[in-house]
Amino acid sequence: MTTSVDEAVFDYFSLLLTEVEDEPSIQVEAITADIAEQVVPEVISDGPSVEALKPDASNHEALQQESSKSVGYGNESVIEKPEAVETPRLQTQLKTQPQTETQALTKSKIRESDPHLDKMALEQLLAPVFKPEPQIETESVVKLKNQTLAKPKIKTTSAPDKVAVKPKVDVNLEKKVDIEQKQEQKAELKTQLGEIPPKVTKDLLETLDDEFQVLFFKVAGLTLAVPLVSLGGIVKIERINHIMGRPAWYKGVQTYRDTQLNIVDTGAWVMPEKYDKTLAESVNYQYVVLLEDSNWGLTCESLVNAVRITKSEVNWRSKAGKRPWLAGVVKEQMCGILHVQALIELLNSGLGSQDPVG
């Protein structure tokens, strides 16, 4: 029975392939790494599995034994055998561990260094046995190359990304902190001054009838008028408790029907520029004019009278302006008429008559 050379080679590879499955792949790895180290040492040293790829003495010996073993299989093409042995093994290795480019490069190097190898013949022979092999091989090579090439790219792009992102985060944090600080400041302002008053107060004219009553009262020689609809009551001054840390115009607290009335030194509030120590000492407050249903009361020296007047008798202010608490001037008495609602809002805000509004 005669067999052709091709058939013999085919049988030989079949045998080898079955053997490869049983053998550990470390030996092949060792060979590959050994060669690869010579070819591209810098790639190996950068790789993560350098230790695994590095050959040791035993592996090298095993390789030599393997080579002699393959010779011992007995065939005509003795020279071709060792090279031929390596090729499928490398393919197998690539199939099982396709992590590094080194292996792929090594393989190509080996192929290039085998001028005697008839590649075409081998491929033809291997085709029936390893049909998917060449596909896998090319895939793995491409994959590995892409991976190894992509790796440094990722590294270089990721580093500046980090740098670029960091300040962004910092800026956001700073902004956040700024916002928080502003909010805290706002909250502080609110707690210290109460609610912020509206820039434009509600028009008093809408709430008044054509003819309405006003009460005139006197404070340090100044006469003021308050519409009776806005009058909460009149209370005689008894004992005003001084509360520390309050503005100069805040006279203190007086207990009235189980509630605490906040008493305003009207002279100090309305005309702080004129209300010096001498004037303050000369003033003798007798009553408290309560503002609507609030806890605020204006001190006064005397109550003049309550008079019915018409809207036309008042020179109304068209704009709230800097003094929203002043609704207008009663023409006949030549005195200011109070906008009580606006006044309450100012007092709740802890603002004096000359403090900027809004």
């Binding site: 001054l193 408790n241 840390g245 906040n262």
Partner: protein
Amino acid sequence: MTDANKVAVAVNKDDEVLQWVTFRLDNETYGINVMQVQEVLRYTEIAPVPGAPHYVLGIINLRGNVVTVIDTRSRFGLASAEVDDSTRIVIIEAEKQVIGILVDSVAEVVYLRGSEIDNAPNVGTEESAKFIQGVSNRDDELLILVDLDKLLSDEEWMELSQI
């Protein structure tokens, strides 16, 4: 209703009963938490401390311990007054420090429920506005409750500890 009854009534934790030591200062009555009061002393000579902050009157020797006395009137923005027989030094503990506060007189210990304490008028912008914890109307008299921990700022407490 007696004070003891008041304690018995207050079972609800939200309406907790607290005891307040009241003292007088410039015709006003103030209250401080009894738990912070260690003792009340008659006026004794206060030794001035050179270079001490303006709110410090000086130091006293309390059974071998040096206690700093605060000028409460000055702290509350009140004019100074002469010392008389009713003047007292109240030894208190605040912010982990034992200090004395000079007051015109010490009145009594009162029981107050949480619901009996109102917020102080919120118009103050000065530093001293911060240490009013609340007000309470008691027997037609206003009791101003003082938060002793806020009597001094953090920096001032620190400064005080180094005297």
